[in-house]
């Protein structure tokens, strides 16, 4: 029998991590994500897991990567300024193909910005914040329930694809307290990284399986010896200057995710079938949008809502199908128009796309979005 609780989003992320198999958390205090660390400081030791508060944000992500190399499912959590500090080592985890979950509870920026107030200004940082090419997987929960469920999904994706996966929460979702139905253990899937099937002497640590482009991963301490490096490397994990090996590695990093796009992409559509006005929004904004859409429907406007749940990969093909039947697309965002660019790319001229930006530290009121609908309808 599933248990019902009244939790904050940040607590749901922490408990979702444990449900997804997380036994290691390292991080550094930062508003508005600290409750994730506080919850795990209390909960992880109870299951024999490890929590460590590091000396800085960089240590927070680096220790988690180290723990993952040693075989544990690991997570770190932060907010905008800390997310910036973590970018270099996020890149190391992409390059060395180390599973890891990184939570960014978005607050207003740039810089110290608005520590206690909501924004969605990190969505492009999540995609391109670290230098170099890689594929990004990022989930944007819009409820406490989703904070729990998408954290499990994030661990599963990071284990399957051997790379970091990002939870892009925001201050409102992180701090909202609401009902959550905690699924019974065993009622959801938990994915573990592929282990090598060969004996240690035959182990080629970065030789991918042809079926999925992903190399099986050994852990330090389980009998395999291998080399981890942030340098571009060959199948043995050793630095290479050979152009063909470099090309193979970097292309594979992108392809191993892109070829399974259909398995990863998540989105949700409300009132799509006859919509003439389409709202596209995500995270906490989607909640204001949905209310506005319902009110507009009551007033007779044919309005629908498209909510990307994975911001990366962006559900572009799915959005394009819907956009071809509508007269206009509205994109309310708590930034100056970041995912707007993705929506425009996906809609590809099939309908005009109107951005609606709010960067004053507050969440859209449903009435803000309703008036945007009334302006264009």
């Amino acid at each position: 029998m599933a248990e019902v609780a009244f939790w904050q989003g940040n607590k749901a992320i922490a408990m979702g991590a444990i449900a997804g198999g997380c036994t290691f958390f390292s991080g550094y205090p930062i508003t508005p994500s600290s409750e994730i660390a506080e919850t795990l400081a209390e909960e992880l030791p109870k299951i024999g897991g490890r929590f460590i508060q590091m000396e800085d944000e960089i240590g927070g992500i680096a220790a988690a990567i180290g723990a993952s190399i040693a075989g544990r499912k690991a997570m770190t959590a932060t907010s905008g300024p800390g997310f910036s500090l973590k970018q270099e080592n996020l890149g190391l985890a992409y390059m060395a193909e180390i599973p890891l979950v990184v939570v960014d509870i978005m607050r207003g920026g740039p810089s110290t910005g608005l520590p206690t107030r909501v924004s969605q200004q990190d969505v492009m940082q999540a995609r391109w914040g670290t230098h170099g090419d890689h594929a990004t997987i990022a989930y944007a929960p819009s409820s406490v329930q989703e904070c729990f469920e998408l954290t499990i999904a994030a661990f599963n994706a990071s284990e399957r694809f051997r790379q970091p996966v990002i939870i892009l929460g925001d201050e409102v979702v992180g701090h909202t307290r609401e009902k959550i139905v905690i699924p019974d253990a065993g009622s959801y899937q938990v994915v573990n990284r592929k282990r090598p099937a060969v004996n240690p002497d035959d182990f080629v640590p970065y030789k991918p399986d042809l079926s999925d482009d992903i190399p099986p991963m050994a852990s330090f301490g389980d009998g395999y010896r291998w080399h981890v490096t942030g340098l571009t490397h060959d199948d043995w994990g050793f630095p290479t200057d050979e152009p063909s090996e470099i090309e193979t590695k970097i292309k594979r990093l992108v392809r191993k995710v892109n070829r399974f796009r259909e398995d990863i992409v998540r989105y949700e559509v409300f009132y799509g079938e006859d919509a003439k006005v389409l709202i596209v929004s995500y995270g906490s904004v989607a909640r204001s949008s949905l209310r506005a859409v319902r009110e507009a429907r009551q007033k007779g406007f044919k309005v629908g809502h498209f909510r990307p749940i994975t911001l990366w990969p962006f559900p572009d093909e799915e959005l394009q199908g819907l956009a071809s039947q509508v007269d206009v697309v509205i994109v309310p965002e708590l930034n100056c128009g970041q995912m707007l660019l993705e929506v425009e790319r996906a809609v590809n001229g099939k309908a005009p796309v109107v951005g609606k930006s709010l960067v004053n530290g507050e969440l859209f009121q449903p009435s803000d979005i309703l008036s945007a609908i009334e302006e264009v309808a």
Binding site: F24, S26, E42, P45, K46, G48, R50, I52, M54, E55, D56, I58, G59, A62, A63, A64, I65, G66, A67, S68, I69, A70, G71, R72, A74, E88, N89, L92, P200, S219, F220, G221, D222, G223, Y224, R225, W226, H227, V228, T229, G230, L231, F238, P239
Partner: protein, 274 residues
């Protein structure tokens, strides 16, 4: 020529190494491998972590569980590895840039926690790989590409720093004393806590040729001339110690070790659950 036991720890397939002929880093790697071999460490249970720079290439040549991380961050990767799996022997090799500049914060906090990791500092007083820029351990008056008029800021004494920050075993040797390096690394690995072995090494290529120490042997001879044992140094005046390198064991004490404390914390947390 290394012994068979030492050769067994090398990934000779990946030679030649990238270090310049005459570099001191090989002396330190050899001492580390002799220490690991003589302690009977298992390659599958030994982790060698490194940061960035010439020193950081060492793990690539060692046939163990090796991780080459980002600049200055190897100690925090190592901290995660050790806490995740306390059964592993974790050795961290880093340069003076890793340890004393970009990773200085991690260094003092690893000392403070007294986590069971052995940090070997390959201190050549210069950024060698990037072309001879000044480091936080370059002596006053020395020349570097970013100190063309001579260094004006004083260098760190990394052993004093480590001891003050809480490391439980702290020792220093130079590459002119390879037996001492091996002995100190062995004691460091045996110490249940954070151990720091600072090895003064040379970069004749980038430091030496700008500072009248262009040949490797000039550097070795200098290390022999300026090395003073701790016992002697304790009886010397500060002005007599100018320009000297104090070698020996600077600290050897017991303090609670971090991972052991954490495992006890787990027992307490579980006790509350029951």
């Amino acid at each position: 020529m290394p012994s068979k036991e030492v050769l067994d720890w090398l990934r000779v397939d990946f030679f030649p190494h990238i270090w310049c002929p005459g570099c001191g880093h090989g002396i330190i790697m050899h001492a580390l491998l002799r220490a690991l071999a003589s302690l009977g460490c298992e390659k599958e249970r030994t982790v060698i972590a490194s940061g960035i720079g010439c020193s950081s290439r060492m793990p690539g040549y060692i046939d163990a569980c090796t991780v080459h991380t980002t600049h200055g961050r190897s100690l925090v990767f190592a901290t995660g590895i050790k806490l995740a799996n306390p059964e592993l022997t974790v050795v961290n090799v880093m340069g003076d840039g890793d340890c004393a500049a970009i990773g200085g914060n991690h260094f003092i906090h690893a000392c403070r926690r007294n986590i069971d990791i052995t940090a070997v500092i390959l201190n050549n007083s210069i950024y060698g790989m990037t072309g001879g820029q000044v480091s936080p351990t370059t002596p006053i008056g020395a020349y570097a590409t970013t100190a063309p008029y001579g260094v004006i800021d004083p260098p760190f004494d990394l052993c004093n720093l480590a001891a003050a920050a809480g490391a439980t075993y702290v020792a220093r040797a130079t590459v002119a004393q390879p037996q001492l390096i091996e002995q100190y690394i062995k004691k460091g690995i045996q110490n249940k806590g954070f151990s720091v072995v600072e090895v003064m090494t040379h970069c004749h290529t980038q430091f030496g040729r700008r500072n009248k120490l262009a040949r490797p042997i000039d550097n070795i001879n200098r290390f022999k001339q300026v090395s003073v044992t701790k016992a002697k140094a304790d009886a010397m005046k500060p002005e007599e110690l100018e320009g000297k390198i104090v070698i020996g064991e600077m600290m050897d004490r017991e303090r609670p070790e971090y991972v052991e404390q954490y495992l006890r914390l787990i027992e307490r947390a579980r006790g509350q659950v029951a």
